[in-house]
């Protein structure tokens, strides 16, 4: 694979998205093209991992301009791993969206493709201003995906969440842009390779880059600038929450790793700030989850807590710490998406993610229960899942760096995480189904509950479940719902008509909805049992961050 192929990671999704927009009412074709392109992106990521195995960096200057003027794209092992992980997540989340019929919206496929182009570009670029542009390319389709709904089915609750999401992200991007302006003012360049080590030598550059890092911390939801995430993420549909959880905050984390390694050259003067901020992030995130009562709110707060863990890797700047941090990053993306997809499947089919209104699903939906339980144990760090390897290596790293307090906090937070996961487990999967669980899919009984609106965001799916129960026709076997196809007449059927005659005690979540979450849960099990592979790849990536000369030379074309 040559460096010039890197541009394809951005070009192909972008062009395909443009071609898909004029296609009207052909959602099957859209879905097929979407999955093909995403699979290609994933394949490209794997090919890059193979190419970067020896620690080399592929780079290209777009348009064959002179290095230093051109837009540089570069991919080393860290980039390749991130491209693979984001590709895998977008693919599984899109599969989930197709299974829930969320993808049947005309603009779903083009928006996800532009999102993919933005994510890939942000991961590949080696230029601060370009990073800003690609983050915006990533965010614009996200804003639309956030409020995407069938005509007349949009919910005010999603709009309120979108207002928060858009304003926070725009403010953050503007701060980042100001930081880029300052960097250009004091250093005269925004090319990462030309800035290599600049912040270590010049305090003015350090201050300017710190503004960029601050903006990226808001995007990554580091405490005390985390509040937006826990409120905004649960406000959209479960599909989109799962997709965003693996992409947006993680791109910001990747950029923090890259910028601190290259521009600051791992400067040890400022590491204490990271250790303090990220320790607080771990604790505050997990405590925030204690008071929440819906699955997605709990998971969103856990995400904040886990972001503290991931970034701790960069705060313990050293080979062991960086290796652990990168391993944790990949592990977390997979596990979190798996959890959001499992609970999302429940939410889509039962119309709520509220712990009070669900129960006893372990008996009725054993596969979702297995998938959730595996991912939850992995999140908490229980062997044999990848979470154990990730937490153990991070713990060893902080002990070897002498950060005893951080190590103790990691263990304590893990225990609280496990308790929180058990709370979801006992609320949703154990016990007896509460009164009125069965007629829940799009129930009109509780308009005051926001979760009801989330069911509305997946209108076709919920309506199909309800309608097929009511008709009792094609849905006699558990599997048919996932593949039942929504024609217009069924989707517009009033939910109330279906609710009264819903058949109790029947399985609602079909294999197509179970598969994405379960597949990711299997990946975390594989990474736990065969952790050696990803650990050695992470070590190669960490070596690339420790010694950035290879990256710099590749970008500058010397």
């Amino acid at each position: 694979m040559t460096g010039s192929a890197l541009a394809l990671f951005v070009a192909i999704p972008l062009i395909t998205a443009g071609l898909l927009v004029p296609l009207k009412e052909r959602w099957r074709l859209n879905a097929a093209v979407l999955m093909t392109v995403l699979a290609g992106s994933l394949g490209g990521g794997v090919a890059l991992v193979l190419a970067a195995r020896d620690g080399s960096t592929l780079a290209t200057s777009i348009g064959l301009w002179q290095a230093g003027i051109a837009i540089p794209f570069a991919a080393d092992m860290l980039t390749a791993l991130m491209l693979t992980a984001t590709g895998l997540l977008t693919l599984t989340c899109s599969g989930f969206a197709i299974a829930t019929r969320y993808a049947s919206h005309r603009y779903f496929a083009p928006l996800v493709l532009v999102l993919t182009a933005g994510v890939n570009g942000a991961l590949l670029t080696a230029d601060l201003f370009n990073l800003f542009v690609f983050i915006e390319v990533m965010l614009l389709p996200s804003y639309a995906l956030f409020v995407l709904a069938a005509p007349g089915r949009g919910r005010l609750w999603a709009v309120a969440g979108a207002r928060l999401y858009v304003t926070v992200n725009l403010l953050t991007s503007t701060i980042f842009l100001a930081g880029v302006g300052f960097v250009y003012g004091v250093a005269g360049t925004v090319n990462l390779a030309e800035l290599a080590g600049a912040a270590k030598e010049d305090d003015a550059v350090a201050a300017a880059v710190a503004i960029c890092l601050f903006a990226l911390s808001i995007k990554a939801a580091v405490v005390p600038v985390h509040g937006w995430l826990a409120r905004a993420y649960p406000a959209t549909s479960p599909t989109v929450t799962a997709m965003f959880s693996g992409l947006h905050t993680k791109v910001a984390i990747y950029a923090i790793y890259r910028i601190y390694a290259v521009i600051f050259d791992g400067d040890s003067r400022f590491l204490w700030i990271g250790v303090a901020a990220f320790s607080i992030t771990m604790v505050v995130g997990v405590l925030g989850a204690v008071g929440e009562t819906t699955t997605r709110n709990i998971l969103a707060f856990h995400m904040i807590s886990q972001i503290g863990y991931i970034l701790m890797g960069v705060a313990l700047f050293g080979l062991v710490g960086l290796t652990a941090g990168i391993f944790y990053l990949i592990h977390h993306m997979i596990v979190k998406a798996s959890l959001f997809l499992s609970t999302g499947a429940v939410e889509v089919r039962y119309g709520t993610g509220s712990l009070d209104r669900l129960g006893g699903l372990a008996k009725r939906e054993p596969w979702i229960a297995v998938s959730f339980f595996a991912a939850a144990l992995s999140l908490a760090g229980v062997p044999p899942f990848s979470g154990f390897v990730a937490k153990l290596s991070l713990l060893m790293a902080s002990l070897s760096e002498g950060q005893i307090v951080a190590a103790v906090l990691m263990v304590l937070v893990s225990i609280v995480t496990l308790m929180s996961m058990l709370k979801i487990w006992s609320g949703v999967f154990w016990g007896h189904p509460p009164e009125g669980l069965d007629p829940a899919p799009a129930g009109a009984d509780a308009p005051a509950d926001p979760d009801e609106d989330e069911a509305g965001a997946e209108p076709a799916a919920a309506a199909v479940a309800a309608a097929s129960s009511a008709a009792g026709s094609a849905a006699s076997s558990p599997g048919t719902q996932g593949t039942a196809r929504p024609d217009g007449a069924v989707a517009t059927l009033p939910a109330d008509a279906a609710v009264s005659s819903a058949e109790p005690g029947r399985r609602r979540i079909g294999p197509a909805l179970i598969a994405p979450g379960l597949a990711l849960a299997l990946v975390t099990l594989t990474l736990g049992l065969g952790g050696e592979l990803l650990l050695s790849l992470s070590e190669t990536a960490a070596l690339g961050l420790m010694d950035t000369s290879g990256f710099v030379e590749a970008v500058l074309g010397r």
Binding site: L140, V147, V159, A160, G161, R163, V166, L170, F182
Partner: protein, 135 residues
């Protein structure tokens, strides 16, 4: 110095607007803020050279730095598109744009009996419940 003062004053205006509750004012605040940042980027390139950076045989001591100009152009386009999206969000509510982000409060003040405003493809306009009688 003039640029720094101008950027400072504009940021102050933006921060004031951000402290208002209405979405519309917040959007206007963002318009101001992005202008302030654009001024800052122009200042970062230096304003002492004013020659246009086009053509051949340019004298580096006279020609302005083209890179900040390209940055600002890109930033203006991005800010413009997001402003339009935010304007859409601002009118996608009930009557006014002062919608709380607290779902429980939003539901209780709005009342469960009123459906959301919807787009009517026949009359080609947004129909807000309660206003249909007036029309």
């Amino acid at each position: 110095m003039t640029l720094a003062l101008a950027a400072g004053v504009i940021v102050a205006g933006a921060v004031y607007l951000f402290s208002r509750r209405e979405m519309m004012r917040v959007i206007l605040g963002f318009v101001l803020l992005s202008h302030a940042v654009n001024l800052m980027i122009v200042a970062a390139g230096g304003t002492f050279n004013r020659g246009e950076p086009i053509g051949k045989d340019l004298d580096p001591s006279e020609v302005a730095d083209p890179l900040p100009q390209a940055f600002v152009l890109t930033a203006i386009v991005i800010a413009f598109s997001i402003t339009i999206f935010m304007l859409v969000l601002a009118i996608t509510g009930r009557r006014d744009d002062d919608v709380t982000d607290d779902p429980a409060a939003a539901q209780s003040t709005a009342g469960p009996d009123l459906p959301d405003p919807r787009w009517d493809p026949v009359s080609r306009r947004v129909i807000t419940p309660g206003e249909e009688d007036d029309a």
